[in-house]
């Protein structure tokens, strides 16, 4: 399971709380809007990512969770 942080740019109003909580993954640009690193959220930072989503004053931040793809074993039935 991988997690990515996404921001709804319309909802975002540059409060910057996400960057305070998660400076490892989120920086603020010249105008205070979040620049999010294009990487999966490492396991140890996941609780902070969850908190950043919860604390965002406009609920602009979200976590996109993609389930790991499991190989499907071929079925004998057709």
């Amino acid at each position: 399971m991988t997690q990515r942080i996404e921001v709804d740019p319309i909802a975002c109003e540059a409060h910057g709380m996400c960057a305070e909580l998660l400076p490892e993954l989120i920086e603020l640009d010249d105008w205070g809007y979040p620049v999010i690193a294009d990487v999966d959220v490492p396991r140890r930072l996941r609780p902070l990512a969850r908190r950043a989503v919860s604390v965002c004053p406009t609920l602009a931040l979200r976590l996109r969770v993609t389930a790991a793809v499991k190989p499907v074993s071929p079925s004998r039935r057709h």
Partner: protein, 227 residues
């Protein structure tokens, strides 16, 4: 038991202080006040904590008022406004304030599920809680003539007024009409208090006029028995 009576009065006062504090911190959040020592997510955390603490003290205030044997207040009176027998109007304002605060709290706990817009719409009601609470306190409280209680009311009132005015200024002049209406409402409320207080809670026989059941009133005129 006198304990409940003391507890309900004190927890009521503390609730008011905490409510005012939560409002002021909330305005600091909206106003994006920046501090070297306090990251804004921490201020957000304090806002939530103080609000929850206010609810806790409010719950104590309600429960002890119900448990207290002096005034006939039932649990239902605490949430259904104006239905009780003890100072129904003024107690009812407290019940209304409590209901609104409950709505604000529940929507805040469920914020992510409700979505930003629905949550925000209900959150505006927080501004209405405060005037209701203070009038309720002034009209049902029994410590009005104590200096410390008056000081608390004055301090909270000043903080509330300052908070509302600050909020109006943030984002000025967008939606100017709404902002002017808010200022007007604040001024009207203050004026209303100024007119009402001297002849009301600070006037003679307030307990009777407020709707205290006659059996509870301190002075009863005794009729001389005939013959």
């Amino acid at each position: 038991m006198k304990t409940y009576w003391y507890l309900t009065r004190s927890s009521g006062a503390v609730s008011l202080i905490l409510l005012t504090a939560a409002l002021v911190i909330g305005i600091a959040l909206v106003g994006r006040v920046r501090s070297e020592r306090w990251p804004r997510f921490a201020v957000d955390g304090i806002h939530r904590a103080v609000s929850l603490l206010a609810i806790v003290f409010l719950a104590v205030h309600v429960i002890t008022a119900v448990l207290d044997s002096f005034a006939p207040i039932s649990l239902l009176d605490a949430v259904i406004p104006f239905a009780g027998t003890y100072r129904p109007v003024w107690l009812g304002l407290g019940a209304a304030a409590f209901d609104l605060l409950l709505a604000v709290t529940i929507t805040s706990v469920l914020r992510e599920r409700l979505g930003y817009r629905a949550w925000r719409a209900v959150h505006w009601l927080a501004y209405a809680v405060w005037p209701l609470a203070i009038v309720h306190g002034l009209a049902t409280g029994s410590d009005l003539h104590q200096g410390w209680m008056t000081a608390i009311y004055v301090a909270c009132a000043a903080a509330f007024a300052a908070a509302v005015l600050t909020r109006v200024v943030i984002g000025w002049p967008a939606q100017a009409r709404l902002r002017l209406a808010a200022i007007g409402a604040l001024v009207a409320f203050a004026a209303g208090l100024a007119v009402w207080l001297p002849g009301g809670p600070f006037g003679p026989n307030w307990a009777r006029r407020a709707g205290t059941p006659p059996s509870l009133l301190p002075h009863t005129v005794s009729q001389p028995s005939p013959g």
